[in-house]
Symmetry: C3
Subunit: 352 residues, 3 copies
């Protein structure tokens, strides 16, 4: 009974938010309604992910969630690329990577850790995640050093960027083959844990359908909410870099947040880690390279060069997340450290 109440309210708020957006209401109303709506649809997405994870295992469920979460970001970013707003794209990619590694993972680990003294996940996955994060940092760091130290021409810069983008995409696709096909059993930790969980309210098919539906709703509401932000940015005197890397990233990751935290609080920290780290890896190894390739199709190549402060933020997030995840256990204090680093970066970006 209670549940149907939740869904009725969600649909109503979602509809109101849609009307306010397409009807061109006052920006304050649009903001309030879409902010409220995102809480509901993110909750819906969390439930759908959990249900799918029950059937598919924690890891595949986490992967699906990360992918659906990033699909929205990819679509928004493609529009930005099309308009040549490369700096904002890179700022939001940076924000999405550090937001997942520090804020989503940090909140999950902290809240899960306040409930359970110690939470465990597959230590092998932690190792692979760490290696892939290093791969991502290498892919962003090498061009930054070479292009600057050797004064590459624009043509060389673009050639290097496109090559590295292609290599990262191939690496990511092979990783999917490795982790989902050839070495699936090695990396699985979810099936056993999920087996003795409670039965989800939906069947397998309905769960997948709801996952897709919830993701679309989150994407739409996120976009409406993002649309109202520019007005706020100018009103509160925030820089585009800060808004791109923190405000948009936090809202854009609402889906991952709610899903990961819910998983962590049900002692399924493996799924939470997969959502948070998997999502940031997907952005660094797949979304960002795809945007570079897509930019060439629009006739204007976006290079892979991130600014020194963006690279620092990504490297810092990777190193602390790697150090915390490598033993395959988490506790509340590790969540605190991740959030502390996020706050340090937040203040630094705010001051830029």
């Amino acid at each position: 009974m209670k549940k149907y109440g939740f869904y009725s309210v969600m649909v109503a708020i979602f509809a109101l938010s849609a009307i306010s957006h397409y009807g061109g209401w006052n920006v304050m109303w649009q903001f309030a309604l879409s902010a409220l709506a995102i809480l509901f649809v993110a909750g819906f997405l969390g439930k759908a992910t959990e249900s799918v994870a029950h059937y598919a295992g924690q890891r595949l469920g986490g992967f699906l969630n990360a992918t659906f979460g990033n699909a929205a970001e990819l679509i928004i970013a493609i529009f930005l690329v099309k308009e040549g707003l490369f700096d904002m794209v890179k700022a939001s990619l940076t924000g999405a990577i550090i937001g997942n590694l520090l804020l989503v993972l940090g909140l999950s680990v902290l809240l899960g850790g306040l409930k359970y003294k110690q939470q465990h996940f597959n230590i092998q996955i932690a190792g692979y995640n760490a290696t892939l994060m290093i791969m991502a940092v290498i892919g962003l760091f090498v061009p930054a050093v070479f292009v600057k130290a050797e004064h590459f021409s624009v043509e060389k810069d673009h050639l290097l960027s496109l090559s590295i983008a292609a290599i990262l995409i191939v690496s990511y696709l092979l990783w999917l083959i490795f982790s989902m096909i050839t070495h699936r059993s090695l990396l699985s930790d979810g099936e056993a844990a999920a087996d003795h969980g409670e039965t989800p309210p939906w069947s397998r098919g309905v769960s997948v359908l709801f996952l897709v539906l919830a993701t679309i709703m989150v994407a739409l509401v996120s976009e409406w909410l993002v649309g109202t932000l520019h007005t706020f940015t100018s009103r509160f005197g925030l820089s585009e870099l800060f808004v791109g890397a923190f405000v948009i990233a936090i809202i854009g990751n609402a889906a991952e947040h709610s899903a990961a935290v819910m998983m962590a609080m049900k002692n399924k920290i493996g799924a939470a880690v997969e959502i948070a780290i998997g999502s940031s890896l997907q952005i660094a190894l797949f979304v960002a390279p795809v945007l570079i390739l897509v930019s060439t199709l629009f006739g204007q190549t976006m290079d892979i060069l991130f600014t020194p402060i963006e690279l620092t933020a990504i490297a810092v997030a990777v190193f602390i997340a790697k150090s915390i995840s490598k033993d395959g256990t988490t506790n509340w204090y590790e969540g605190v450290l991740l959030l502390m680093v996020y706050i340090i970066l937040g203040i630094a970006f705010y001051l830029v």
Copy 2:
């Protein structure tokens, strides 16, 4: 009998050193007496720490020792901050961090390893130490990149420095709650080992009293010794950076040295690691931030910006110490490597 002889000589030398200092004797005499006195009082401190560790477990004993050792450094540094000698403060903080991570830890591991083929300590602690060391590096590295790359104004620099100082202090206090209260049992490795050690000569209360007393004596003698150094510096043509980062740091860490090496040679490498790494973490995450906050009280904010070579020295020390400590075992060769890195840095700083 023999022991009472030791303490009588110690008190005599200590008194003589005090007289030479406050009586304004010839600097050569002051130096010789205080250098001799520090050997005795450091030995006393080592015995007191060992005795306290027997009652409190290796870790808490190590923490107490690190804290008492750094109390002296903190007091000296506050006087330097008050006089606005920020560069010398940072040089001595750098020296204390790398001195603990490389020299104290290196000597302990080497001398312990020459006696025992392999020494073991709690691998979980090693992991947390590594993460906290990375946190410290992040806290020093992020402002260095942002302030320089984005040309921060002095106000922004100070705001960022104060914010990060506050975050590091909160992180350190929460770490104490985590490691001493909520997850104490997880991180303990001393109780069992200490149980079947020989009974210390002093009761619990006397041990703590002697620990406090010994720390005060070490602090006093260190200060007297430091006071004589400037004369030497100019006589031998040494730079202030080298004296601050190496000479003062070596003398100021005499307490940690003697205590840690004594522990390592009794096969209590866990306590030695706790003293060395714990002390450097305390300096990076607590002493340095407190100095920044204190500097504002004196009306002149010291920022958190370390020079590139100081940052390099700290990062290098952290990476090698992290790599060596992460498997929870030590041997003579790992001690050699730590000392080799210390020598490399010593030569580099000497040449500046």
Copy 3:
């Protein structure tokens, strides 16, 4: 029967290549013959190494192979140092380090991983290898930062370079004592595995003799091949940096390649890792420092300063290799990642 055929052909090709070289034939012929010859002699070296490893254990066998492989490189580099071609020496040292860590290790892990789902090696060795790699990076990184940030004079630069060279050599020699003498049993993983392998065709003495002979043949053929490269370089418009760091390094490591890949495909990944990582450590901690000391004997000190892009390449290779080797297991995907990073660096160097 079949085997004798292989050796007859090898001797014939080797002799032809020698005649073409010393007879001053057309460069195209010299190139074709020496390239063909290297395939055969590298195969011979692989068999000899495998046979020696059977008697000596995987690790000592790997060490011997790494040493014999690098002896050739050392000799070639000494001639370059004598002629003052310091930049080319450093480029080829860089190329040898990253070639071993990425290409040799990557191919071994990939090809071994395609045959065996998961391959295992001694996790302790992985830890020590990682620490030594960090030591090497520190030895190259510290002078780069200090000399540049503090504007060292040429004298100070040379003094620092010679000091660090001496420290690295001492560290390497102590490592040999540690790993071969005082803690040999700890680090051994080969004896047991080799015991139930098939008996090699040669006796212990003959195996060692053939190992020496094969190494000499590889060194000679490598040199002949390298001699023909300059003609090609200019014909194909390649930069000396790219040729030094990639083309020469690939050919110069032919011995390690064939030996390591053969070991990996016989499920002796421990020996393959030892050859690849051991060889790169030997270059960074022994060959490079020896060249610096040797350069002073020739009256012209080569400093230890590598360019930013060389340092980046080495650091990147070390971090990914460290991350992949630290769990003591390998699989095809880890080989792919190593090769991907090699390709990224290859493209970047090619564009310089």
